[in-house]
């Protein structure tokens, strides 16, 4: 049961998007310190995205670039979509740029342990959930090093994060058909690479 004080609190609570609108206005009028309010509110969200998509040692730099890009393009923010969604798109594209800058990085070696994990995952897990996740991360890193920056982000959003085609298209700024066709090609490519990996493991 909701008591009266809770009702009053809810009624007088600031509307978050309205509040955000005012903060953005203040920043655009030159009150640069108001940007820190947006950083405080959205830091966890940005770090959540960046952590999943870039190398551990580069997380803080990439997250900083996300906020700097957001600051630079704040005037172009249209309030048709929620601010968080707009910021997520910037975060995803910054991660994409990060991988583009690195191009196709040198091959990441796969050790004996990772090969065992591939084998185990192929014929039902023999490991604990934690061990399997550790190994799977290494194997995924190896596989992703073979993809272009765009394919990498797409596969990561669709099959690691479990986002829908629509969500991936919106975050990457692509059409649904682009997501489908690129996704199909990337799937085939990855599948072949994993088969090669398994064959190497067998020999």
């Amino acid at each position: 049961m909701i008591n009266q004080s809770q009702t009053v609190e809810r009624a007088t609570a600031p509307n978050s998007s309205e509040d955000e609108h005012l903060i953005i206005q203040r920043i655009l009028e030159g009150e640069v310190d108001a940007f820190e309010v947006l950083v405080n509110r959205n830091r966890d969200q940005v770090f959540g995205i960046v952590t999943r998509h870039v190398e551990l040692q580069d997380i803080e730099d990439v997250a900083q670039n996300v906020f700097l890009k957001a600051y630079d393009s704040l005037a172009s923010y249209r309030e048709e979509a929620p601010f968080q969604h707009w910021l997520s798109r910037i975060a995803i594209r910054t991660c994409q740029d990060y991988w583009r800058a690195r191009s196709r990085i040198k091959e990441v070696g796969v050790g004996e342990e990772e090969l065992r994990v591939v084998d185990a995952l192929a014929s039902f897990d023999n490991f604990t959930e934690h061990e399997a996740a550790q190994g799977a991360r290494e194997v995924t890193r190896w596989a992703f090093a073979r993809l272009s920056a765009d394919d990498r982000m797409l596969v990561s959003l669709r099959y690691v994060d479990g986002r829908s085609e629509q969500e991936a298209a919106s975050l990457l700024g692509w059409s649904i058909s682009q997501v489908k066709s690129r996704g199909f090609r990337a799937r085939k490519y990855l599948q072949r690479e994993f088969e090669k990996l398994l064959r190497r493991n067998e020999t």
């Binding site: 030159g30 640069v32 310190d33 940007f35 820190e36 950083v39 830091r43 966890d44 770090f47 959540g48 960046v50 952590t51 999943r52 997380i59 803080e60 997250a63 900083q64 906020f67 700097l68 600051y71 630079d72 591939v118 995952l121 192929a122 399997a132 996740a133 799977a136 991360r137 194997v139 995924t140 890193r141 596989a143 596969v155 099959y159 690691v160 994060d161 479990g162 799937r187 990855l190 599948q191 994993f194 088969e195």
Partner: protein
């Protein structure tokens, strides 16, 4: 093994790699450094301002040069017709 089950195996590995539970806490200085960079950006003129200033300067220099050339032409050929001057005036020229 069918194509679908081959992909299922790959997808299982990808899903297992998800680092949902890993929370990265930025270092103490991270936010301070970010806000320093933001403040530095504010004090710098924007790229748009720089381009606009450069363009305005080039237009002004071009206009002065054109005006000087026209003056020289008129000095050399003082019999320039009224029609030519009217055309110049119509095109937005001035300073005569």
């Amino acid at each position: 093994m069918s194509e679908n089950s081959k992909w299922d195996r790959v997808e299982r590995i990808l899903r297992a790699s998800r680092t949902e539970d890993v929370v990265h806490h930025p270092s103490e200085n991270w936010q301070h450094n970010l806000m320093t960079a933001v403040r530095a950006r504010k004090s710098e003129p924007s790229r748009f301002d720089l381009v606009a200033t450069k363009l305005a300067w080039q237009l002004s220099a071009g206009s002065l040069l054109f005006s000087a050339l026209l003056r020289a032409y008129l000095a050399l050929f003082p019999t320039v017709s009224t029609v030519q001057l009217s055309t110049w005036s119509f095109l937005g020229g001035g300073g005569f």
